[in-house]
């Protein structure tokens, strides 16, 4: 069924989706990231790899691997993820089992539960968050000093001594 034509300048009304029973509502702050990226609802189940170039809000069941190199992964309160994750930042409100590699921070909220290893530049844990595994903090690489081309190179002057004549 084709959607009705919308006059130019008018905004299309968002569809109302009825969440399944027992689903926990997503916190506003975490759900806001879904507006800018992709939202996978709590009725969705995915087995496979998720590779993307935008923020993702996951509230379903995921099994596989998740790669969002320069974006944020948010796992909602109903999310149940068994995957290795590679992202800029990870915000966990649900369950995550797997290894996490984040160039930014990993945040485990009060309702979140994590099992695996974390490699991140910063970690934030709320009281009550579940954790089992290890944490490794990546240290920022020291900036290498590159000599400037405009910088004058000192000239060392040496006094040349004439060779001694052979005896």
């Amino acid at each position: 069924m084709q959607p009705a034509a919308v006059p130019s300048g008018a905004q299309r009304e968002p569809k109302t989706m009825v969440p399944p029973l027992n689903a926990r509502p997503a916190p506003k702050a975490a759900a806001s990231s879904a507006r800018n990226g992709t939202r996978i609802g709590n009725s969705i189940s995915i087995k496979g790899d998720i590779i993307g170039d935008e923020d993702i809000y996951l509230d379903g069941i995921i099994e596989g691997a998740i790669k969002l190199e320069s974006h944020t992964l948010t796992i909602g309160p109903n999310g149940n993820v068994q995957a290795d994750v590679s992202a800029r930042s990870v915000i966990l409100l649900g369950n995550l089992k797997g290894n996490v590699r984040a160039s930014g921070h990993v945040e485990i909220r009060r309702t979140g539960s994590f099992e695996g290893d974390i490699l991140a530049s910063r970690i934030i844990m709320e009281d009550g968050a579940g954790f089992r595994g290890s944490i490794d903090i990546t240290k920022p690489k020291k900036a290498q000093v590159v000599p400037s081309r405009n910088k004058p190179v000192p000239v060392h002057q040496t006094t040349a001594t004439p060779p001694k004549p052979n005896a």
């Binding site: 970690i123 844990m125 954790f131 944490i135």
Partner: protein
């Protein structure tokens, strides 16, 4: 008392507390109105000695610490940000409670304890430089306590140390199970999680026998009936 009130209000304000936040202070113990948890600061000589045994930067490369009491955000930052290395964690009592919740009548015998240890403490020999046990061990059944201490003797490297607390109360007495946050090198913040009965009475002699496979056991007594032990592998 005013210092506790000021600190609590500052912490709560930074967390955007509700308008009707109230703090009850009783005998130097803060009571969080929202969570009804008791929070108190306590001096810890055991912690001081434990931390003194740890390497300091830049020699913390490869440092591996294990926390059996679960992770607390502040402790993560205290160790990883200030000292570096890697921090492992498992909330052991939470796992024990989950087991009992699944099978209410079930008790840990030697075989069950061995299986539990294999599942949650499966690490390489001599892997850890230090282990934070807090008061977890004193809430375990005898069989599980023996197996976990035996496992710690294998996974802590020679010279590594363990910090553990044991209550001074006899079997059956209810004591607070706390979450400990490191405030300073000799100071802990203890937040009561629940009241639990002590399953077994442990005298100092019992504790020395328990850690007989270790090199040394140092006792530190405190005013709040908590025995602090620094055990060296």
């Amino acid at each position: 008392m005013f210092k506790y009130l000021k600190r609590a209000l500052h912490e709560k304000n930074s967390e955007k507390a509700p308008d009707k936040f109230q703090v009850r202070v009783s005998h130097g113990t803060l009571l969080d109105q929202e969570t009804e948890q008791q929070i108190r600061s306590r001096t810890s000589r055991g912690l001081l000695h434990f931390l003194e045994r740890l390497p300091t930067p830049p020699e913390t490369e490869g440092l591996q610490i294990f926390d059996l009491g679960g992770l607390v955000d502040s402790n993560v930052h205290y160790f990883l940000s200030q000292r570096g290395g890697r921090l492992y964690a498992v909330d052991l009592l939470d796992r024990v409670d989950a087991q009992h919740a699944r099978l209410p009548q079930w008790k840990f015998d030697d075989l069950a304890a061995l299986r539990f240890v294999d599942e949650y403490l499966s690490f390489q020999t001599a892997m850890f430089d230090a282990v934070l046990v807090w008061d977890v061990l004193h809430f375990l059944d005898a069989a599980l306590l023996r197996q976990i201490v035996a496992k710690l003797a294998r996974i802590v490297r020679p010279g590594g140390s363990i910090l553990c607390f044991f209550h001074d109360q006899p079997k059956g007495a209810k004591v607070p199970l706390c979450r400990y946050t490191i405030e300073a090198a000799n100071s802990l913040k203890a937040t009561t999680r629940s009241q639990r009965p002590v399953p077994v009475t442990l005298s100092n002699r019992d504790l020395e026998a328990l850690f007989q496979d270790f090199k040394s056991v140092q006792f530190f007594l405190s005013q709040d009936s908590l025995r602090e032990l620094v055990v060296v592998r």
